[in-house]
């Protein structure tokens, strides 16, 4: 993938210009799209220290899908962040993009690891140095600490396992390692497998490694959060598909698959109840991302082609939804300067575009027909029923039902209810540079709801690449499974038709019984009169009572983050004197530790 590297160098070495950034990303997108149209083999090998390492790059069809997601997200994101970025931001962003491309096209361990690390470090720098938190002191050191510690752990795990594999197979090629991993039965393959899996779970934020996600999402620059959620969280899925998909399809690995499915369900439950509890928009969306990613893992664990299709559909759809929601949230934060539900409210008639955007987003996010989110959910549920994993199904129905609450909270807290800190007279619609990409995303979500075939046809190609059966699509608008079919086109038409008829009926009544437009405070209020000062906005309280439900209370009360911090602090105390060796601050010492650890691992691997 020369193009990826080209973008990478272009971004790092040239003077930073917004236009350049967009052009380069558009170029990348275009190149990737061209790959679809005319599949040219651009496998690329680079001899490094001839005879010792061979870096090989080749973009598989899966890699292409992920690369496209990343490229399009990056393009939209660059458009949305037009003109608000400081120097160095673009360099880092493109560095990260480059790392991502290297990772996605990597054919061997070295390039895989290299891409992984470039991506991790540049994204760390991005959210740490360009944080959206207003007050630099308020910007929590904990977030960065957690992120980097967990990333280090995952990197070390991965490095160790990769070298272990190299040791066993004598080849740096990923395919050989995967083949070995699946060839060996029993404990020897389980342990490296689980370790590797933990590394990927961490990237996607699955339980129990989700703790870095909320803080990071909250503090990252607003548009970058969109990218984090839409593209970077998918890397874990890519790596999982790369290393484990054949593994989970293996007949003999039922227990492992079942375990992964439950990890997905439990993660979704925890994340959903945590999301309901959040009081700021980005925090809510962050936890929601964790939950949505977890469905994908559950579906992948099921392993049937329907489930796999559902997983990929859900993933693509999630990217679209989260880009849309984060863009609009970024726009609202930019216009109002408020991030929390108890500060916003009552903006619907001032920001109709954002309202419709969020509405489309939450309908799709909640998985309600007729928008696109439904198909992912439908395929996952149906595949679970066909597989007979009814308890897992219960496990993911719980969070996807509870998700309605945070979806409603998101739209109520911002647009409905009463205005609080934002004067509705002064509120303005979000700026066009958010509106344009949001509009595109909304259109694509609606379109996918009407014609899920648009995604499912390419997905079929991927499935056949994997050697699985393809999904039965009767037309663009309807989908058949062994046990039933669904037609979104029909749902949309019926709903639209009925809606129109009732609206006409209502307007007929309107002649005889006109609707009186009432003042905002003229509400049924038990006979009393609210004043302008009376707090009437339920933004904070919405969902507050959910934790009185036993299961939700048990989840919300516990905080893994705190436990990790406690462990970290204790470790810190023990290692206090060790730290004395290193000059400077914690970050420097962490980097040095990592370099040292990497060196040690390298040595061990070489010796073996």
């Amino acid at each position: 993938m020369v193009s990826a590297l080209a973008v990478f160098f272009l971004g790092t070495h040239k003077i930073i210009r917004e236009l350049l950034s967009i052009v380069s990303l558009a170029l990348l997108t275009g190149l990737l799209l061209m790959r679809i149209v005319s599949p040219v083999s651009d496998d690329f090998t680079w001899q490094y220290m001839p005879g010792f390492f061979t870096l090989s790059f080749s973009l598989s069809s899966f890699g292409l899908l992920f690369a496209l997601i990343a490229a399009i997200s990056g393009l939209l994101k660059s458009f949305a962040s037009w003109g608000i970025n400081s120097k160095g931001y673009h360099a880092l962003f493109h560095l990260m993009m480059g790392g991502l491309m290297i990772l996605l096209s990597a054919g061997d361990y070295i390039s895989f690891f290299l891409g992984w690390e470039i991506m991790t470090w540049s994204s760390f720098m991005l959210f740490n140095n360009f944080s959206s938190a207003d007050d630099p002191i308020e910007k929590s050191q904990d977030t960065g600490f957690l992120f980097i510690t967990l990333s280090l752990i995952s990197a070390l795990l991965m490095l160790g396992v990769l070298f272990f594999l190299y040791n066993r197979t004598g080849s740096m090629n990923i395919a050989d390692g995967v083949a070995w991993l699946h060839g060996v039965k029993g404990l020897p393959s389980w342990i490296p497998g689980l370790l590797l899996m933990s590394a990927f779970f961490l990237k996607s934020g699955l339980l129990p490694f989700h703790v870095w996600v909320p803080g990071t999402y909250r503090e990252a620059p607003h548009t970058f959060t969109a990218f984090l959620s839409a593209a970077l969280s998918k890397v874990g899925i890519y790596a999982f598909i790369l290393f484990f998909l054949p593994f989970s399809l293996n007949e003999g690995s039922g227990q492992i698959s079942y375990l992964i499915a439950w990890i997905g369900a439990i993660t979704a439950t925890v994340a959903t109840f945590k999301a309901i509890e959040q009081n700021d928009m980005k925090g809510l969306l962050a936890y929601s991302s964790i939950g949505q990613m977890a469905y994908v893992f559950t579906a992948m664990a099921v392993g049937s082609s329907l489930a796999m299709g559902g997983a990929l559909f859900q993933m693509v759809n999630h990217s679209l939804i989260k880009l849309l929601l984060f863009f609009i949230v970024a726009g609202i934060i930019e216009r109002t300067g408020k991030t929390r539900f108890d500060q916003l409210g009552g903006l619907i008639y001032k920001m109709p575009f954002s309202f419709i955007g969020v509405l489309v987003g939450i309908i799709a996010l909640a998985g309600m027909p007729p928008l696109s989110g439904f198909y992912g959910k439908w395929m996952i549920y149906t595949s679970l029923i066909e597989k007979g994993w009814l308890l897992v199904l219960t496990g993911i129905v719980l969070p996807s039902t509870a998700a309605f609450i945070y979806c409603y909270k998101l739209i109520y807290g911002i647009f409905l209810g009463h205005p609080t800190e934002v004067n509705p007279e002064e509120a303005k619609e979000i700026s066009p540079r958010y509106r344009v990409p949001s509009g595109l995303l909304m259109a694509s979500i609606v379109l996918l709801g009407l014609f899920p075939g648009l995604i499912l046809k390419p997905v079929n190609v991927l499935l056949s690449d994997l050697g699985m059966e393809t999904l039965a699509l009767t037309s663009q608008g309807s989908l058949n499974a062994a046990s039933g079919s669904v037609s979104g086109f029909m749902v949309m038409n019926v709903f639209g038709g009925v809606f129109a008829v009732i609206l006409i009926l209502l307007s007929l009544f309107g002649k005889k019984a006109p609707t009186r437009n009432l003042h905002r405070l003229d509400i049924a209020y038990a006979g009393e009169l609210p004043t302008e000062q009376t707090p009437l906005h339920y933004g904070r309280g919405l969902g507050h009572e959910v934790k009185r439900v036993a299961i939700a209370g048990a989840i919300v009360k516990r905080s893994l983050t705190e436990k990790y911090m406690k462990i970290g602090n204790q470790l810190g105390g023990i290692l206090e004197h060790v730290r004395g060796f290193y000059p400077g601050n914690g970050q420097v010492s962490l980097i040095m530790t990592m370099v040292g650890a990497a060196a040690v691992a390298l040595l061990i691997g070489l010796k073996g």
């Binding site: 009552g346 619907i348 509405l359 909640a366 309600m368 027909p369 959910k377 439908w378 149906t382 679970l384 029923i385 007979g388 009814l390 308890l391 199904l393 219960t394 129905v397 719980l398 039902t401 509870a402 309605f404 609450i405 409603y408 739209i411 109520y412 647009f415 409905l416 209810g417 009463h418 046990s483 039933g484 079919s485 669904v486 037609s487 029909m490 749902v491 019926v494 709903f495 009925v498 809606f499 009732i502 209502l506 005889k512 019984a513 006109p514 609707t515 009186r516 437009n517 009432l518 905002r520 405070l521 509400i523 049924a524 038990a526 009437l536 919405l542 009572e545 009185r548 439900v549 036993a550």
Partner: protein, 301 residues
Amino acid sequence: MLFTIFNSLLAVLLTYSMGMLYYGFYRIGNARIHRRVGPPLWQNVIDNIKLFAKREAPGHGIMFHLGPVIMTAGTITSMLFVPFLKDSAWLQGFSSYGNLILLIYLMVVGPLGNALAVGVSGVPFGVMGVTRGLTRLIGLEVPFFLSVALLMSGSGTISISEIMMAQDSFSNWNMMAHPAAFIVSLFSFVGMMGASPFDVVGAPVEVYSGPQAEFGGKYLGFLAAQRVMFSMVKLILWVDLFLGGATNVFILMAKSFALFFFYFIVGAAFPRFKTEQAVDFMLKLPLIIGIGAVLVRFWSL
């Protein structure tokens, strides 16, 4: 196409008149339990027409206006995805294009659309009611999904018509074939119909009639009409899934009335739970029965 539209209109009319009849009975029956005479049977129809005959209606902007429309449209759409009869071309709606999972999600569209209208009206009581409803939904959907999943995996299909078709004789009715699933689903059924002890959403003494607090006139008329129709959709769904479906309208009415009677008795006898108590209850007893049934199925395979 014309036939389908005609059929849809027929379905709307049938559910409306069935609903008004049943709820008329409901009010009289409740009155008899209360040791009084009660209103005439058609009182609900009179109430409904009166609401449409009001001279004005309160409004809080276009979103408030659309809420009841979405609610009614959601109800009618989900009605059209339920097959009313088996072995018949009549009253099938669009059910061949949908399935049970789609229906379960469709049934949430209307209430959520109305929730937007409630939110925009700015009545705090209304939003509290909506929150209660959404929280209660957790408790209702989980056991319900488990019970219908048992059916779906048992009969190997997720299509409502096919599940209905499979129940050809009394011993094959799903309530006999899958008794545990039926019992679990009955808990959810009572909750979904909004009967005590799960009627937290519109509790007048607590949240001032909840989501309906700000609706009046024609809007309330639409909400009242869709409420009875929605109840009938749920009843017919249960008849399709568990009671073997119906070959004609009279059998349908007989079976659905039996279920309705059950709902009426339970609703009359109990005070109301708090929201969290309702959810906890639903996640305890019904869920345990359901999980037990799944485990039994698992071991017996």
